[in-house]
């Protein structure tokens, strides 16, 4: 193969190909941006959800957990923890999360430890709202089952 292709042909494939597929990527991105509002329910991003995302980031939760399958693999997936631990009920989930955050770290010897973050009630509530909102994103039905 390499005998029939000259260097200038190779260069043209590089310039032409990468330009074409970069523009294709931009086009797909524009289309995705048009479709996303339907899928991410951005109208339901309240101030509390925004606070929750800030708390999530300021405590680097992603350093142990995954969220929609991305992040670390040391601790459970949290995009569906609302369904798993809260039975998809907001009241139940908020009560659960409040208790959970307050009893860390668990004392079981050898168990993977989650730090105590000393969050306020408002912050935990925001975190819950952020995770509830996240669980409702249309993610093509991932994960395969409730265990995440």
């Amino acid at each position: 193969m390499s005998e029939r292709i000259t260097k200038s042909m190779a260069r043209n494939i590089y310039f032409g190909g990468s330009l074409f597929f970069f523009l294709f990527l931009i086009g797909l991105t524009v289309d995705t941006m048009i479709q996303l509002p339907e899928r991410d329910n951005r109208d339901q991003i309240t101030e509390s959800v925004a606070l929750g995302k800030e708390v999530w980031e300021h405590n680097n939760c992603i350093g142990c957990h995954s969220l929609m399958g991305e992040g670390a693999y040391y601790a459970p997936e949290l995009a569906n923890v609302f369904n798993r631990r809260g039975n998809s009920d907001e009241e139940t989930f908020k009560r659960y999360l409040g208790v959970w955050m307050s009893i860390q770290p668990l004392q079981t010897p050898g168990r993977r430890k989650m730090p105590q973050f000393n969050l306020t009630e408002e912050e935990v509530n925001g975190l819950a709202d952020f995770l509830i909102w996240t669980s409702r994103i249309d993610d093509n039905d991932w994960p395969p089952n409730i265990e995440g």
């Binding site: 797909l28 300021h58 992040g71 997936e77 730090p115």
Partner: protein
């Protein structure tokens, strides 16, 4: 060495390797925490260790790329570096910012660090690989701009070779896509969508240009094969890398909100991504077979061939393993991902940096004809130890991942929970830790090889 100013590459290489050692120490710590969660808790929680491990990785690779550029760009351009002084300033600023940031991770709780650096004013922290305070990110931009200005001016005043142009294009791309790190909207889906414009478009885009250029440079030097021939291959490889890799980014858009057509696009284009890595391997071996010279620095050739091979395994084979949407549905965010991440980062980017170091460092130290045979022998042992133990780590994590998928993901009802699954898998994590320790031993041998002196045999250059 052809030009005095190439010397500025040396501190970059040395500092890169020091950070590499730090990365491995924190890798081992996490390997232990995986088995016993009490290890160093609460002093260094897992998330802090992980951040230190991955950020040191990225920063040492950047130091390595910068050193590579300072070494090879003047030589290719056949002129002195535009400003060696600026190169030393960027070195010290980058080193200081890097060390300060790592110390910040280790000494202050992360929330405190976010508070101290005013993250609320311009939130960019708390996202994987982009954990650095906003001020550090701005510092990185300044350093990279000064660096690109320096090498750009050098290229402009000198000979414009294909290798130089591709290397500079890759480095500019690196800088441009890093700017997406500053975009962090409240909407998590948008945040994630453009987060990949840094991460994926780096490792499966512009970094491949950087890697291809460095590999081509070293191959020309160690084989003496015709530049025209090597440059043609280089163009073809990076062409296919971008043609497949740009839309191949869709393999990250399956399950984070974007529309379902990405399942098809991501699967199709990313399935082509192994091709450029395969070509890189083919051509590296082909060029070495056609070699016209046989320099005394034999180990540099070993590194070059090793990089091409391990990059193909890590990115090509282990990437393909989980890239098709129906497979990724089950493997997404499991130990399979970690297996691939390790072999790909090591095989492609850690090894390309060690390749250029293996070629250039002896010359920078006044050993124009390569290191003495005793040193090369030790370096060769280190090469094999690191490659084999990284394969061991990868295979262990692949077993862990397959096991995890079968317990936790595959069952439609009655699947095992995350923590219980991890407890089951524990024996495999011991294997990973064993290979991790072997890797650390390999790294120690590698460092030791720099201190072996001896008589260089044969002709002088």
């Amino acid at each position: 060495m052809k030009f005095e100013s190439q010397q500025v590459a040396k501190p970059y290489f040395i500092f890169a390797l020091i950070l590499f050692a730090g990365q491995i120490i924190f890798g081992l710590l996490m390997g232990m925490q995986y088995i016993n969660g009490d290890t160093l808790f609460p002093h260094i929680p897992f998330n802090v260790a992980r951040m230190v491990h991955t950020n040191l990785l990225i920063v040492w690779l950047l130091f390595g790329f910068m050193g590579a550029a300072f070494y090879l760009i003047p030589e290719e351009a056949e002129t002195e570096l535009f400003s060696p002084k600026l190169a030393m300033i960027t070195f010290w600023v980058f080193a200081a910012a890097g060390v300060a940031t790592i110390l910040g991770y280790l000494l202050v709780p992360y929330a405190e660090l976010a508070h101290l650096t005013g993250n609320a004013l311009w939130p960019t922290m708390g996202r994987e690989f982009l954990e650095q305070p906003t001020i550090t990110k701005l510092g990185i931009v300044v350093v990279v701009l000064a660096f690109i200005f320096n090498i750009g001016m050098t290229v402009l005043k000198g000979r414009k070779t294909v290798i130089n142009l591709i290397l500079v294009t890759g480095l500019i791309g690196l800088a441009v896509f890093f700017l997406f790190a500053f975009y962090n909207p409240t909407n998590l889906v948008l945040d994630k969508y453009f987060w990949w414009w840094v991460v994926h478009l780096w490792v499966e885009g512009v970094w491949e240009l950087i890697m291809g250029a460095i590999l081509a440079f070293v191959l020309i030097k160690v084989t003496g094969v015709d530049r025209e021939y090597i440059e043609k291959w280089l163009y073809l490889i990076i062409a296919l890398a971008l043609i497949s890799g740009l839309v191949g980014m869709g393999h990250h858009y399956y399950w984070i909100g974007p529309p379902a057509y990405w399942l098809w696009l991501g699967s199709f284009f990313s399935a082509l991504e192994p091709i450029p890595f395969f070509m890189m391997m083919l051509y590296a071996f082909d060029v070495v077979r056609k070699r016209r010279i046989n320099p005394n620095n034999k180990i540099a050739t070993t590194w070059a061939l090793g990089t091409a091979t391990m990059a193909f395994l890590g990115a090509g084979v282990w990437g393909f393993l989980h890239t098709l949407a129906p497979v990724n549905y089950y493997t997404h965010g499991t130990q399979i991902t970690a297996a691939h991440g390790h072999l790909a980062f090591f095989g492609a980017y850690a090894m390309i940096v060690m390749t250029i170091i293996s070629y250039a460092m002896p010359i920078l130290r006044g050993r124009e004809d390569g290191n003495p045979p005793e040193a090369q022998k030790l370096e060769r042992a280190a090469f094999w130890l690191m490659c084999i133990s990284m394969m061991g780590i990868t295979l262990a994590l692949t077993v862990a991942g397959a096991w995890q998928v079968s317990l936790q993901r595959l069952p439609e009802s009655g699947a095992m929970g995350f923590i219980d699954t991890q407890i089951q898998i524990n024996p495999v994590y011991w294997t990973r830790l064993l290979f991790g320790s072997l890797f650390a031993f390999g790294l120690v041998l590698y460092f030791a090889s720099f201190f072996v002196s001896g008589k260089t045999e044969g002709k002088t250059a």
